[in-house]
């Protein structure tokens, strides 16, 4: 089946993917697979569907299975709905020895959800992540593009209250 590529995604997402394709040799379009999945996931509210992965495959002339492999290998691609704000909390050593357990407790209590769950209003989800490379600011978490460091329960409250 011949797919009209201009019917896929949005103009902005296609432009974003094309920008990445241009970085690689002409016969290595599949190098843009990861940035394409990232852009498409963002467009879809933070998670991927089978249909979207198929569309990425079609857009990059890749076998669908090759895209599924990538999308399921890397931890930042989501395969079920996440909150509008995905809270990624590090629990690795430096954060752990700086009490990330108590940060997690606080998030659990305040939001009423555990790792992998979404609040009923769809606003927040929490994900346990491996070391994010900001151990000097432990304990830390990431929401969206931003790293929040040297967390305390009070700081968490003000961060969450500040999010739309």
């Amino acid at each position: 089946m011949k797919i009209d590529k201009t019917s896929l995604f949005t103009d902005e997402v296609r432009a974003e993917i094309d920008k990445h394709i241009a970085k690689y040799p002409a016969d290595w379009k599949q190098s843009a697979c990861m940035p394409a999945l990232t852009a498409v996931q963002e467009m879809n509210g933070g998670w991927l569907t089978r249909e979207l992965m198929d569309q990425v495959a079609a857009y990059l002339d890749m076998p669908a299975i090759a895209v599924y492999e990538v999308a399921t290998f890397y931890s930042m691609y989501e395969h079920k709905e996440v909150g509008r704000h995905k809270i990624c909390l590090c629990t690795n050593i430096s954060c752990m020895v700086n009490n990330s357990d108590s940060i997690l407790d606080h998030l659990n209590k305040r939001l009423g959800i555990s790792f992998g769950e979404v609040t009923k209003d769809g606003k927040f989800s929490i994900k346990e992540v491996e070391c994010l490379g900001a151990c000097g600011g432990a304990p830390m978490m990431q929401i969206g593009d931003h790293y929040y460091e040297n967390l305390t329960t009070e700081k968490i409250d003000s961060i969450l209250e500040g999010l739309e």
Binding site: P25, Q30, I93, V129, G133, C135
Partner: protein, 421 residues
């Protein structure tokens, strides 16, 4: 004697701008090389003389690595930077990307010139969105100033750099997994040989170095290989960024000479938090075997000194733990990390990391069995050296290290079903 290399511009208010970088002498070395058409061999000799060893953790001599590329072969050659910083405890490359991106760019361009490459890729871990935007902005500035693109500074040399964001996978810090990842695949390491110098990115000759390694190059070439070597100690040339975290008062990155006594680094980091006693130190990222506090106080921050305690300097990520920490719980977390991050390609690592984690986890939860400690030693020994890449070793080494130094704590958990701390 601090902040002389990668952090030389850190005292400025906006060191990430091309303007301030140039005011600190930035791009001067590249301009000179292109103007004088310095011979690539001369540059390689200076890098060799400097004693610079790969700052990502493996410590391979950078100049030697560059010399492996045959620049006369008429094929595309690539420069790849490994900014997939993910070894727990390590957070130095993030600061280079955020505060001194131009020095990294200058180092990569110089490498491109040396090997006759035409393109470079900087693989930045996917979570580093803010550093990525900072690096991208720096690339734009460098292009506008003529340092990147066709005919760099009118020299006839073409070179451009692109960044590639990862997707969340520790294994992509392994160089061949990283290359696979840029090629749009799962990040599973390749068999070596062939090494990247022969068969690298897109199957072409490739130099791949860590962020800090590339960023050290402009200063090494400016001040000379001997100057850099003399900063450090024999076999550990130069200064290095040490990321210190854990139970210290001022965690952070400190750029200090190799061979600096650990006790001085600890002092820079403000000493132990709440005046507590230091119990243990992981000296070079989570895969380096733990060292008891009192032993660590006698060691220096260089490859040989840390190796004398049967551990590794690794990426220079120092995790300091006080006497409130249970070593079983710490190893439980470390072993979970390697289980979670094993790429699944080799059976000993895929199965062994899960096995070790389950056994440690049951000890931590008071369900350990008498035979578990011997079992752990056995499983760890059977993973090490039996996998394609070093992740298997990285998972096995901490287990062996914690059991060697803190066996009594593990035994107490097994005997009493609870922690002695």
């Amino acid at each position: 004697m601090a902040n002389e290399v990668c952090f030389r511009t850190l005292h400025r208010d906006a060191p990430w701008t091309i303007e301030q970088y140039r005011q600190e002498g930035g791009y001067k070395v590249l301009e000179k090389i292109l103007r004088e058409k310095t011979s690539p061999d001369e540059i390689i000799e200076a890098v060799k003389l400097s004693g610079l060893r790969g700052r990502g953790g493996a410590g391979f001599p950078t100049g030697l690595k560059w010399s492996f590329i045959n620049r006369t072969t008429p094929v595309e050659k690539y420069v790849v930077c490994n900014s997939d910083e993910g070894e727990p405890g390590t957070f130095k490359d993030r600061d280079i990307l955020r505060y001194n991106p131009h020095q990294l760019i200058e180092g990569m361009i110089i490498c491109g010139y040396v090997i006759g490459g035409t393109a470079g890729y900087n693989y930045i871990r996917g979570e580093f969105r803010e550093p990525y935007f900072r690096f991208e902005a720096a690339l734009e500035e460098a292009r506008a100033a003529g340092y990147l693109g066709k005919n760099v500074l009118g020299s006839g040399f073409d070179f451009d750099i692109h960044s590639h964001l990862g997707g969340g996978a520790y294994i992509c810090g392994e160089e061949t997994a990283l290359l696979e990842s840029i090629e749009g695949k799962k990040g599973q390491p390749r068999f070596k040989p062939p090494f990247p110098a022969m068969f690298g990115l897109f199957g072409k000759p490739t130099v791949i170095n860590n962020t800090e390694s590339f960023a050290s190059i402009p200063v090494i070439l400016d001040k000379g290989g001997q100057w850099f070597a003399d900063l450090g100690v024999p076999n550990s040339g130069g200064s290095k960024l040490f990321s210190i975290s854990g139970n210290v008062n001022r965690p952070g990155n400190y750029e200090i000479p190799m061979g600096t006594p650990f006790r001085d680094l600890l002092e820079l980091a403000g000493g132990m938090k709440d005046g507590r006693t230091m119990k243990a130190v992981i000296p070079g990222g989570s895969s380096s075997p733990v060292i008891p506090g009192e032993q660590m106080m006698e060691l220096n921050m260089d490859y040989d000194s840390i190796a004398s305690a049967d551990s590794m300097l690794g990426s220079g990520a120092v995790i300091v733990m006080d006497d409130t920490n249970c070593m079983v719980k710490v190893l439980d977390r470390i072993s979970y990390f390697y289980y979670e991050e094993s790429c699944g390609q080799c059976t000993p690592c895929r199965e062994g990391t899960g096995w070790m984690h389950r056994v440690i986890h049951r000890i931590e939860n008071g369900q350990g069995r008498q035979e578990d400690l011997d079992l752990l030693d056995d499983v760890a020994a059977k993973i090490a050296g039996r996998t394609i890449c070093a992740l298997g070793d990285a998972a096995a080494m901490p287990v062996a290290g914690f059991l060697k130094h803190y066996r009594d704590e593990f035994q107490f958990h097994i005997d009493h079903g609870k922690c002695m701390v």
